[in-house]
């Protein structure tokens, strides 16, 4: 049981981060506003979660301007994909070990 828990990634423990990662797993990229409405987070909350994931190297963000409006889009990195897949596998093993 311990070995199963070892791979559970602490970075994905919060529901918001789990949501960000799952949404980015199946979408090439998502912008700030879309993510915000999907996860129903406040601006500051989403920004701090994405910054955190970015610092870990799991997602990248690209800032640009559409007209005069700043637009930030996020996408998942290869490292993030691997980390998330491992996390999923660990969750699965953990659930199976309990039954």
């Amino acid at each position: 049981m311990f070995s199963a828990l070892e791979n559970i990634n602490k970075a994905f423990e919060s529901k918001a981060r789990l949501g960000i990662m799952s949404a980015l797993m199946v979408n090439e990229s998502l912008d700030f506003a879309t993510l915000k409405s999907l996860l129903q987070l406040t601006d500051g909350n989403l920004a701090s979660h994405t910054r955190n994931l970015e610092d870990l190297g799991y997602i990248t963000c690209e800032k640009r301007f559409i007209g005069r409006k700043p637009n930030t889009t996020f996408s998942i990195t290869e490292k993030g994909r691997v980390a998330f897949a491992e996390h999923l596998k660990a969750l699965e093993i953990f659930i199976k070990s309990q039954n």
Partner: protein
């Protein structure tokens, strides 16, 4: 106790992940009623065309109009093309608006994700290609294959976008495709096939969709 709670948490985490992936990668709110309405549009259009535009059996006893090509004067052809374009636009708008309405009702935080855009593009590209091909054939006076090309391209468009929406839509896609392929080997049944494919198939599939959605 602790282990049990952990397991609950892990399960709910997996459910959240699954839900988020589904929500952002597929558009699951296509309105069944709108599909039925499209079928009704097509039925009305077929009835109108049958009464006013096609060489009517009743008039065909007049020797001067027995030739189909005499009936299909440029003016008449133009009218048919415009009617078809208007019908397609009306049908598309109806489905989009009613589905958007349904999505907003079921999911108040609904927003247009990149995958919805991709689904629309996947659908529109084969439709536009088929539309251009049909127009070109009609303008050149080849009327025979129009209905089967419409059915084939429409079927392919549906199959092409089913993985981004409800996968059931592929059933309708394959049905239209098969009907279109059968149609291209049959002579003189184009009108019947068009009516079957765009009218009856839509109404039947729409009913199936509404029933299935109501079940959950």
């Amino acid at each position: 106790m602790e282990a049990n709670r952990n397991q609950q948490e892990a399960l709910s985490a997996l459910n959240d992940i699954k839900e988020m992936m589904e929500k952002t990668s597929r558009f699951k709110h296509i309105s069944g009623w709108s599909i039925i309405i499209v079928g009704i549009y097509a039925t009305i259009a077929a009835a109108l065309a049958y009464l006013y535009l096609l060489p009517h059996p009743a008039i065909c006893c007049f020797p001067e109009v027995t030739d189909t090509f005499a009936i299909n004067t440029p003016h008449r052809t133009q009218l048919i093309v415009w009617l078809a374009v208007a019908l397609a636009a009306l049908a598309f708008t109806t489905v989009c608006l009613m589905s958007l309405f349904r999505a907003r009702k079921h999911q108040p935080d609904f927003s247009i994700t990149p995958s919805i855009r991709r689904a629309l593009i996947n659908f529109i590209v084969p439709m536009v290609a088929g539309g251009i091909l049909c127009t070109s054939l009609i303008l050149q006076g080849h009327y025979g294959l129009t209905s089967s090309i419409m059915l084939i391209f429409y079927g392919l468009a549906l199959i092409n976008c089913h993985h981004l929406t409800t996968s059931n839509i592929a059933i309708l896609g394959y049905a239209e495709l098969i009907l279109g392929l059968v149609d291209c080997f049959m002579v003189n049944h184009d009108f019947l096939c068009w009516f079957l494919g765009f009218g009856i198939f839509h109404i039947l599939f729409g009913i199936y969709f509404v029933v299935r959605n109501n079940k959950g």
